[in-house]
Amino acid sequence: MPDLTAAASAETAPSDAILEARGLFKTLGGNRVLDSVDLSIGRGRVKVLIGPSGAGKSTLLQCLNFLMPPDSGHILLEGREVDKRSKKELCAFRQQVGMIFQDFNLFDHLSALENVRVALIKVKGLSKLEATERAVAELARVGLKDKATLYPANLSGGQKQRVAIARALAMDPKVMLLDEPTSALDPELIGEVLAVIRDLAQGGMTMIMATHQISFSASLADEFLFMDKGRVVEHGSPAELLGRGSSSRTQAFCAKISELTGEAGDGAAGECRL
C-alpha cells in the first residue's frame, strides 16, 4: 500500500497547485459525508464552497488539514503528499494551512494579543518580544490594534472573527480555509469581516471558503464548487454558474437563499444572476 501512495504522488508531482486533495472519502455515523472529492487550488486563487447545509462543506475543510482524518484519499501541499501518520509532519503542514471557523474558537483565557501570539511562541519558537511585535502587526492589519488587551468575552462577534483571522495570518499560511466565517455573526457585523477577507484575497492569499454570502463571494471567487451529499456536483466560475440563462443547481440554490435572506431587496440578487 505505501508504495502505491508514493507512486501516485510521484506521477503528478509537477503542478502549480498549492493544495490538492485526491479522492477524499469520509463516513460519519454510517453516512457517506465525503464521496470521492477532488480539489486543487493554485497560488493566489479563491475557491468558494457552496451548497445546502449538511452537504459536507465543513467536513471537507476539516479533512483538508486533517482536523478530521479522511477515511481515504491524499492531500498534497505544493505537490508533496502529507503523511498524516507522522505527527511532526502533520503539525508542520497545519502551520501552513490557516483555518477560520464559523464560531471563531478563540482561546477564551487569552487576550486578543495572546491569542495571536501563543502559537508563534509555542509552535514557531519565536521569542516573546518577536511574537508580540508580529501579533500587534497582525491585529493592526485587521483593524484591532486598540483591542489587543481585551479578552474574547469582551469582543463583538465581528471582532472575535477578525482576531481569529489575525491569529491564522500570523503563522504565514500558504493557504487559508474559511468555514462560513460570517454565519455566526449578527447582520451588522458581517461587513467588517468580509472587508478583511476581501483585503486578503486582493493581497493574493490563496483561500478555500465555505459561505452563504453568494454575491460577496461571486465578486472574489475564481471558482465556485457546489456541493451536495458529499460530492462536488458542479464547479465553474461564478459567471458561468450564475450567469443569465444558466440552469445550474448553483443558480437555483443561490436564488433560493437570496430569497430567504432578502438579499433581493438591496439589489444583491442582481449580482447573483451575473
Binding site: 476539516q62 488539514n65 482536523l67 505527527k87 503539525c91 508542520a92 497545519r94 502551520q95 494551512v97 490557516g98 483555518m99 471557523f101 464560531d103 471563531f104 474558537n105 478563540l106 482561546f107 477564551d108 483565557h109 501563543v118 502559537a119 509555542k122 509552535v123 481585551l150 479578552y151 474574547p152 468575552a153 469582551n154 472575535k160 481569529a164 491569529r167 491564522a168 503563522m171
Partner: protein
C-alpha cells in the same frame, strides 16, 4: 460543668493543640499537592487517552473512592509501606512513618476525586478550542498544556476548595495510625485532663479556622486568576 475550669483547661491545652496544626497542615498540603500532581494527568488521560487507558483510570478512581480511608490507612501503613521499607535500598527512605502513609492515602484518594473535578472542567470547555489549537500546528500535548488546562484549572477552583475542606476533615483519621495531628492531640489531652468536651470544642474551633482560612485563600486565588467576562460556558 464548671465553665471556668473548662476554659482554663482549653487555654492551657492550646499550645499543645496548635502544635498539631503543623501536622494537619502538612497532611492536607501534601495530600492536595499529591492529588493535584496525579489528578491532572489522570483527568487528561481519562478524557483524551485511548480506551484501555480510560478504563484503567476509571478503575483507579473507583478503587480509591470506594475504599474507606480508614481501611486504606491500615493497608498502606501496616501493609504496603512496612513491606516496602524492608526492601533493600528503601530502608533509609522512612516509608514506614505514619505521616508518609497518611499523606499517601489522603493524596491518592484526593487524586481520584480531583481527577473527576478536572475531567468535568475539561469536558465543559467548548471543543472548538482544541481544534483551533491543532489547526495552528500545536501538538495535542501543547494544546492541552497551554489552552485546555489553564482554563480547566481555573474553572476547577470552586470545586477544589470543596475538596480542601473534605480533605481537612479526612485528615483527622490519621490519628488512627499515630500521626500527632489535631485529633490525636485532642484525644491524648482529653484523657489526661479529663476535659473531653472542652478539648473537642477547641479542636472544632481549630478545624473550623483552618477550613475558613483555606477556603478564603482559594477564593482569593480564584479572584486573582479570574479573566474578564469568563464564565463556565466560556465566552458564548
Amino acid at each position: 460543668m464548671d465553665f471556668s475550669v473548662a476554659f482554663n483547661a482549653a487555654r492551657d491545652a492550646l499550645p499543645y493543640m496548635l502544635g498539631g496544626v503543623v501536622w494537619t497542615a502538612g497532611l492536607i498540603i501534601g495530600a492536595m499537592l499529591l492529588g493535584l500532581a496525579l489528578g491532572v494527568p489522570l483527568s487528561v488521560l481519562q478524557v483524551y487517552g485511548p480506551k484501555p487507558v480510560r478504563r484503567a483510570v476509571s478503575l483507579y478512581v473507583w478503587l480509591f473512592r470506594g475504599i474507606p480511608i480508614l481501611v486504606q490507612l491500615y493497608i498502606f501503613y501496616f501493609g504496603i509501606l512496612s513491606w516496602l521499607s524492608t526492601l533493600p535500598g528503601l530502608t533509609s527512605l522512612g516509608l514506614d512513618s505514619p505521616f508518609v502513609a497518611a499523606v499517601l492515602v489522603l493524596g491518592l484518594t484526593s487524586s481520584a476525586y480531583q481527577s473527576q473535578i478536572f475531567r468535568g472542567a475539561i469536558q465543559s470547555l467548548p471543543p472548538g478550542q482544541l481544534k483551533a489549537a491543532r489547526a495552528l500546528g500545536m501538538t495535542d500535548a501543547q494544546a492541552i498544556r497551554t489552552i485546555i488546562l489553564p482554563q480547566a484549572l481555573r474553572l476547577s477552583i470552586p470545586a477544589w476548595s470543596n475538596e480542601y475542606s473534605i480533605l481537612l476533615k479526612d485528615s483527622a483519621l490519621a490519628f488512627t495510625i499515630g500521626v500527632v495531628e489535631i485529633m490525636a492531640r485532642m484525644r491524648a489531652i482529653a484523657s489526661t485532663t479529663h476535659e473531653p468536651v472542652s478539648m473537642a470544642f477547641l479542636a472544632g474551633i481549630i478545624f473550623f479556622v483552618l477550613t475558613w482560612v483555606g477556603v478564603k485563600a482559594l477564593a482569593l486565588l480564584e479572584n486573582k486568576v479570574r479573566i474578564a467576562g469568563y464564565t463556565r460556558q466560556g465566552a458564548a
